[in-house]
Every structure is written in structure tokens, then in C-alpha cells.
């Protein structure tokens, strides 16, 4: 078959996967039991692969904390020596169909959310969102208090939530998104409605679980108004896992930043990364004394929500969040229209009343991004170089990684013509 026709067919297939998949949150398991390819000495982090010497300070803190938590080292200093010696391996989470927000480091013993899509066979993973406290591994901190919180997640919170999810017979993630569409979430940075609706799904079953600490579990869940994010990330990873198996498709299936470089993945070449200098996420700062010089460039995998067509792609869904990024309602519409220009499908579950009930765009074609010189917008939280969250905002995705992607996909599907 002609290459152009093969690309067209492949893109139709991936667009179908993006818009028809129904990932179900089925369980929580330790990463080593759930994620194929995970090993005891492996720690998964956000973004494209990075040289050890380039790893940012907060990610290094998180990796070392995760290593101590898992008993791979007695101290964080020893942990880093083992990383440098190659005894502890750092790898890109998305290469394992796992999403790691911000500086989060996922080690073998950590409980991960497992989402399964029966329609297309993909399975995705993400660690559990640690809550609204800024003092967490997810923002590059580690101490005894955080270690105690990690142990609570491993020994109590994760197993208890798993019990509730089992009793519920799984939770349909797209159903949560559909039921809360039009409530002001864009589901990357603003997830108040979807998190509360997800909590309702769990609350029906949490009183019946056998875990003796269920009161603590309910309290931990109730204070986290962004709990949905990591469940959604696992769901998106289940969808992109299937999309990555479609050769010839030019649809973007992964993206993330490691604090130095920003990278994207394209269906035709699976887990291959195409990178460019990471942009800054600009918008609001949590502390007025922070400046741009304090900020790390893009760090985290939570933008897999944008890969799916939410977050910045669905900015018009959440004018209040766009306001936080310094934008207006018109800017919110422009961001979604921009994504629509370079996308192949539409999410019928996310029709926005104040956008003529149009659905949010899905399945970004990297060819369109380059040809039309139209860069999608990502929302996101921004990190500090020293660790901690700087604020939240938005940024244009860098054109250079899309250009690299075109080179890579052309070399893969038409090597004789390049």
C-alpha cells in the first residue's frame, strides 16, 4: 500500500483509539508486580531519558528518597553513588506506560494505579497523587516525615484504595470525565469536579473495606482535590500504550519534560523520544519573591493529559484556570482552537457549553503542527531549581521536537525517500 494511505489509515485507527477507548481503573499494585520491565533497582522518572550528570536537584532528591524508601541504600548520599555506579537505574516512566508527575520518582515497592482498556488492550500506570502538601517527593523533597507518608501509602492507603476499587468492580475514568464535563475542569491543573466525583465513586465502598485504618484513608482522600490527576494519567497511559502499537501513525502519543529537555513520542516510532530545550511554564507564582531565575524548565509527565486532549488542549473548559495563567476567556478559546487546528478527532464526552458544545480536540498530528507552524499549549505546575513548586501556568510546546519527530517518523516509514 502507498505510504500516504498507510499513514491515513493508521491515523484513523489512533484517532479511534483516543476517542473510543474506555480505560477502567481496576486496581492498585506495587510497581514491581504491575509494570512489565520494572525491576527492584529501577526508579522511573518524568520526561525523556537524561544523562545522570544532567539530572536536576529536585529529581535527584526524589530518586535518592525513593531508593532509601525501597532499601536500595541506607542514605541519600549512598543512593546517588549507586546511581552514578549504575547499580540503581533511572529510566523514563513513559517508556513503561507509566506517568510520573513533576519530580515524582516511582520505585519498585510503591503502589501504582493500574488502568486497563478492554477495547484496545492497553494497560497504563501512575503512582498515587500524594496530596496538596508542597512537601512531598513529587516536588523534590525527602525527609523522615515524607518517608512516613510514603510508608502510609505503601502499607495502608494503596491497599485500602485497591480494596475499594475492587468492591466497585473498577471505575470507568471516561465516565468520571463525562459526568463532570462543563464543571470548569480542564483536568490537568484544575480537577476539582472530577476529583470530587471520583471520590464519590470510592466513598460508596470505603466504609465496607476491611482495612482497620479506613478512617485515615478517607481523610487522606478527602483533603486531596487533585486526586483525579494521577488516575487520569494512568488511564491516558493505557490509551497511548495501544496507540504506540500502530505503525505509520503520525499522532503524538507521549510527552513530558525532565527539567532540561522536553520530549514527545509519536505512534509510528513508539517509545522513541524527540527532544528540544524545555520551555518555562509561566503564569502564577506561589510566592511573590520567586522569579523566573528560580524556576526549572518544564518538568513532569502530567502533560500526558494534553496528549489525550485535555489540559491546555481543553483550555476553554476551564476559564478560571486560564485566568491563573494570565489569560482571558478569549485566550482559553484560542488555546483550544489552536489544538483543534492540529488535531484529528474530538472528545464527544467533553462538550463545552460556552464553546457551542464543541468537544475538546484529540489526537495531535505532528505533521500539522510543523506544516501549519501551530504550537499546542500545555498547562502545568512549575518547579523550583532548589526543589518545591514555583507555581502554575502554561507554555507553548517547542517546535523543534516536532521537527525532530518528522525526521524520525520519515526515516522509519520511508527510509528510501529520506
Amino acid at each position: 500500500m502507498d505510504i500516504k494511505l498507510q499513514i491515513e489509515e493508521a491515523n484513523k485507527k489512533v484517532t479511534e483509539i483516543f476517542t473510543k477507548a474506555r480505560p477502567i481503573w481496576t486496581k492498585i499494585e506495587p510497581a514491581i508486580d504491575a509494570i512489565p520491565g520494572m525491576t527492584a533497582n529501577k526508579i522511573l522518572v518524568a520526561g525523556p531519558p537524561i544523562k545522570i550528570e544532567d539530572v536536576t536537584i529536585p529529581v535527584r532528591n526524589a530518586v535518592c528518597g525513593a531508593a532509601v524508601h525501597d532499601g536500595l541504600a541506607a542514605t541519600t548520599e549512598e543512593a546517588w553513588k549507586k546511581v552514578e555506579a549504575g547499580e540503581i537505574i533511572i529510566d523514563s516512566a513513559q517508556n513503561y506506560n507509566c506517568g510520573c508527575s513533576a519530580t515524582m520518582a516511582t520505585s519498585a515497592s510503591m503502589p501504582v494505579i493500574v488502568c486497563e482498556d478492554k477495547q484496545y488492550g492497553g494497560v497504563g500506570y501512575a503512582p498515587i497523587h500524594p496530596g496538596n502538601s508542597p512537601k512531598v517527593l513529587r516536588w523534590g523533597y525527602y525527609d523522615d516525615e515524607i518517608e512516613a507518608h510514603l510508608q502510609f501509602f505503601r502499607d495502608t492507603y494503596g491497599p485500602a484504595l485497591n480494596e475499594a476499587v475492587q468492591l466497585a468492580g473498577g471505575i470507568d475514568v471516561v465516565n468520571v470525565l463525562a459526568r463532570t464535563a462543563g464543571m470548569g475542569d480542564e483536568n490537568h491543573n484544575r480537577l476539582f469536579a472530577s476529583s470530587m466525583f471520583l471520590d464519590l465513586q470510592l466513598m460508596e465502598y470505603l466504609p465496607d473495606i476491611k482495612n482497620p485504618k479506613k478512617d485515615e484513608v478517607i481523610k487522606e482522600l478527602a483533603i486531596n482535590d487533585r486526586f483525579m490527576l494521577h488516575v487520569l494519567m494512568a488511564a491516558v497511559e493505557a490509551i497511548t500504550a495501544a496507540a504506540k502499537k500502530v505503525p505509520y501513525s503520525t499522532v503524538m502519543v507521549g510527552m513530558g519534560g525532565n527539567g532540561v529537555e522536553f520530549g514527545i513520542q509519536v505512534a509510528a516510532t513508539g517509545n522513541k523520544w524527540y527532544t528540544a530545550e524545555a520551555p518555562l511554564i509561566l503564569g502564577s507564582l506561589l510566592n511573590p519573591t520567586y522569579t523566573v531565575d528560580d524556576m526549572l524548565p518544564y518538568l513532569g509527565d502530567s502533560c500526558v493529559t494534553e496528549v489525550y486532549g485535555l489540559g491546555g488542549m481543553a483550555a476553554v473548559s476551564a476559564p478560571a484556570y486560564v485566568r491563573m495563567t494570565g489569560g482571558t476567556l478569549e485566550d482559553a478559546k484560542e488555546r483550544t482552537d489552536r489544538a483543534r487546528t492540529v488535531s484529528l478527532g474530538e472528545h464527544s464526552f467533553n462538550q463545552v457549553p460556552w464553546d457551542d458544545f464543541k468537544g475538546s480536540p484529540a489526537a495531535i498530528d505532528v505533521r500539522k503542527v510543523v506544516a501549519l507552524n501551530t504550537l499546542p499549549i500545555s498547562h502545568g505546575g512549575s518547579g523550583l531549581k532548589k526543589g518545591g513548586q514555583a507555581g502554575a501556568g502554561s507554555c507553548e510546546l517547542p517546535l523543534d521536537c516536532f521537527k525532530e519527530a518528522l525526521r524520525g517518523v520519515a526515516a522509519e516509514v520511508a527510509p528510501q525517500e529520506v
Binding site: 505533521r367 510543523v370 506544516a371
Partner: protein, 60 residues
């Protein structure tokens, strides 16, 4: 002899300028009282010849 009435009509009708390119060209005419229509056209891939070739290979 050629019929020039149509071209005469054109020259005698109101001038509306179709501008393909930098918006400042049409703004300058608007400032002088002329009507313009802006066409937001950009060369494919911003004129990048390598990308244009790759896009052709990839069926765009």
C-alpha cells in the same frame, strides 16, 4: 477592437485590496482610507525546505 468595458468597470469601482503577507501592509492602506481584506497565509512549515520535503514524503 477589444472590449475594454469590463476592465474600465474594474478601475472605476471601489478599490478593495487583498493583502497576503504582513498585516502592516494592509494597515498602512487602511490608514489612508482604503478597504482591505487580510489573508492569513503562511508558507508550509514556515518555508523550511527540509520540513516541506519530509511533509511531502509523509503525505501532507
Amino acid at each position: 477592437m477589444a472590449n475594454t468595458s469590463k476592465i474600465q468597470d474594474l478601475f472605476n469601482s471601489e478599490l478593495i485590496v487583498l493583502n497576503v503577507g504582513p498585516k502592516s501592509f494592509s494597515t498602512a492602506l487602511e490608514d489612508q482610507g482604503y478597504k482591505t481584506v487580510q489573508v492569513n497565509w503562511k508558507p508550509i512549515a514556515g518555508g523550511d525546505a527540509e520540513m516541506q520535503k519530509l511533509l511531502g514524503i509523509l503525505g501532507y
